[in-house]
């Protein structure tokens, strides 16, 4: 008995670092593979792939109003994506963006309903309400943050659990003390006009999108230009080394969760003050969870998150058009989103290896 051993003149080895070029290439490959897979599945429906893709593109970027809609859809997920960036950079695994977003929306609502006769001008009223959103979001993120920092309690499980808790609290309030009198649905009364986010260029686009862009810049500045940002990244890269450097890991953990919660809370405030003008059940279609996706897709970088959120906003927007022009259901987008992120991780990992001649 003997074995035939074929020796190839190559060996596979892992790179130490992956260059920016290769990293970008892996995104391109992942997107291409995902689009091809999507096209394949569309053709399974017996639809003309070209027409469906055209419908998606047209429905998301085809006209001024479509583009505006895309940006409106991108706004909340851009913010929750940024909330995720702050947390994941520190390797603090905040999965509670959805709950913190609810907390933020409820914080603004609380201020409006508790002080109905403020009669403030919008310039004061809106910042006040958004600030309230950030505070409540920060509180809801701070609880798991404190438990993690002080007692080393697993933040993943606590944030997931708190997502459910706040949503039940929200339904309770919307079905009880906060419900619009006489309303059959779960919603509050309409907010006063001084709380409506102003619209940009006479379109439906509210300043929430600008706020989100500014937040993106601030997150960038914080993470790469400030001492706190350095500490956040140091915690993520190597907490032991960071500790030796004199960085107070517990403090960084708590601050990270407070910040992340505040940004997610802002997303909730912006969404209800910009779009619904009341707190309404189901105002978030999983924006918090999509934020995690956006962060991973955007490579945990604010600029990447801006691009990824507009891309997903477009995909969501285009899916409505797709449903009108074809038999492909809207939920197709959920599948594609999942596929893209798996592909991205996959190809990035694959590109980490290289063939080397022996």
């Amino acid at each position: 008995m003997y074995k035939v051993i074929i020796k190839l003149p190559y060996t596979i080895e892992k790179r130490k670092d992956i260059s920016f070029l290769l990293s970008s290439l892996s995104i391109v490959v992942a997107l291409t593979v995902s689009i091809l897979a999507a096209a394949g599945m569309i053709s399974l429906y017996g639809e003309d792939v070209g027409i469906v893709l055209k419908a998606i593109a047209g429905g998301s970027f085809g006209s001024m109003s479509a583009l505006i809609d895309t940006l409106i859809k991108a706004t909340p997920i851009l913010l929750t994506g940024l909330a995720t960036v702050v947390a994941f950079r520190a390797k603090v695994w905040n999965i509670g963006q959805e709950g913190q977003l609810y907390a933020g929306a409820m914080g603004a609502t609380f201020v409006i309903l508790t002080f109905p006769d403020l009669n403030l001008p919008p310039v004061v009223h809106i910042p006040l309400l958004l600030f309230a959103s950030m505070i409540t979001g920060a509180i809801w993120g701070g609880i798991p943050g404190y438990l993690k920092a002080r007692y080393n309690v697993n933040e993943i499980i606590v944030t997931v659990m708190l997502n459910y808790v706040i949503q039940y609290l929200c339904t309770f309030l919307l079905n009880g003390p906060w419900q619009e009198p006489g309303s059959y649905y779960y919603n509050t009364v309409k907010f006063p006009e001084s709380s409506f986010l102003p619209l940009l260029f006479d379109t439906r686009l509210h300043i929430g999108f600008l706020i989100a862009l500014i937040t993106a810049f601030m997150v960038y500045f914080l993470t790469w230009k400030m001492k706190l940002g350095f500490e956040i990244r140091a915690r993520g890269d190597n907490p032991v080394a960071a500790n030796y450097k004199g960085i107070n890991i517990q403090r960084v953990t708590l601050i990270t969760m407070l910040l992340s919660g505040a940004i997610a809370g802002l997303a909730g405030g912006v969404e209800i003050l910009g779009i619904h003008h009341k707190l309404i059940w189901g105002f978030s279609s999983g924006f918090g969870f999509t934020g995690i996706l956006i962060c991973l897709l955007g490579r945990s970088h604010p600029l990447g998150v801006v691009i990824a959120s507009i891309f997903f906003g477009a995909l969501h927007n285009g899916s409505s058009a797709m449903q009108i022009y074809s038999d492909v259901p809207r939920s197709f987008v959920n599948l594609i989103m999942g596929l893209i992120i798996v592909m991205m991780l996959f190809w990035e990992a694959v590109f980490k290896y290289r063939l080397r001649r022996i």
């Binding site: 459910y164 959920n334 999942g338």
Partner: protein
């Protein structure tokens, strides 16, 4: 009201339903136990369970056989866990990121497939099947009280108890179980023995996937008979919390599962009784208690040392 609750019939029904809900969690937690004991932190339990719930429903719906449904649920869990294994073990992507990604993927996939297979689903038109009925063990189920609680359960519940014994036996009484436990503590030792660390861990992940799939099928095939998006509603995460609360030990995990099952059952019963408290409070109860439980379990020492750490050969 209190006297109603204290009625023995009601207590029995709560406890019986506690066992039922608890064994769902037990199945998933046992799978996760094996995975974590091998040193892999698998956060995709929720996604695997959801896939199992979906796979079980679809399998049973199209074959008209509940047991074939269970089989397809196991298969669905297996496939999803293979994806996790590919990302987290073979490609060595951060285990937390891999787990979260697989959850997102599974949620998107099941939601899409459900809508694609049943395009006309509406509030009044939800595809349903006739779920499992309880299997009364002859003689034993006639024992007063205990018979109703323990021996008038679904077959899957008995299976869960049996699997608990099997997992405990495997971990502590077999050579392979010893290797698995060592993997979670010090994979280098196992590697030096000439055992393939990655393969072992991958197999552990596949087992976890099958168990989570089985647990998922329990929800759609034994409890409700329908599938809706997010039907697992955090039970996969609960299973992970149970492993922590149960200190990574099979028997403690059994008790923890039953405890959380009891909370779930209590919540449902109190709601059904129309106790004058907002029902949302009851619904939130399992999640609040889980938070408290992981807080209380913060000093547990049973966590495998190498949990969540990639093994890199030198």
């Amino acid at each position: 009201m209190l006297s109603d609750i204290l009625q023995s019939g009601l207590i029995i029904s709560i406890l019986a339903s506690a066992v039922r809900m608890g064994t769902i969690l037990l199945l998933a937690a046992l799978g996760e136990l094996i995975v974590e004991r091998s040193g892999v932190l698998n956060l995709s339990v929720e996604g695997m369970m959801l896939s199992g719930a979906f796979g079980g429903f679809i399998g049973a719906y199209y074959t008209n056989s509940l047991w074939l449904g269970v089989l397809s649920a196991i298969l669905a869990g297996l496939l999803v866990s293979a994806l996790f294994g590919l990302l987290a073990i073979i490609l060595q992507i951060d285990q937390t990121v891999s787990g979260l990604t697989v959850n997102i993927f599974a949620a998107g996939l099941t939601f899409y497939l459900y809508r694609a297979l049943f395009p006309n689903v509406g509030a009044t038109n939800i595809p349903a099947l006739k779920p499992f009925s309880v299997f009364q063990i002859p003689v034993l189920s006639d024992i007063p009280i205990i018979g109703k609680i323990l021996f008038s359960q679904y077959a899957l519940s008995y299976l869960a108890f049996f699997l608990m014994l099997l997992v405990a036996f495997y971990l502590y009484r077999t050579k392979s179980g010893l290797i698995l436990r060592t993997l979670g503590e010090n994979p280098r030792v196992v590697d030096m023995k000439g055992i393939n660390v990655m393969r072992y861990r991958f197999l552990a992940v596949l087992f976890g996937g099958m168990m989570a799939g089985l647990a998922g099928s329990f929800i759609t095939l034994a409890s409700v008979g329908i599938f809706v998006a997010d039907i697992t509603s955090g039970r996969g995460w609960l299973a992970i919390a149970i492993v922590i609360f149960g200190d990574w030990k099979p028997v403690k995990i059994l008790w923890a599962s039953l405890f959380f099952g009891f909370i779930d059952a209590l919540q449902m019963q109190l709601q059904a009784l129309g106790v004058q408290l907002p029902f949302q409070l009851f619904l939130a109860m399992p999640y609040i208690l889980t938070t408290i439980a992981v807080f209380l379990a913060r000093k547990r020492s049973g966590a495998p040392l190498a949990l969540g750490v990639h093994y890199v050969r030198e």
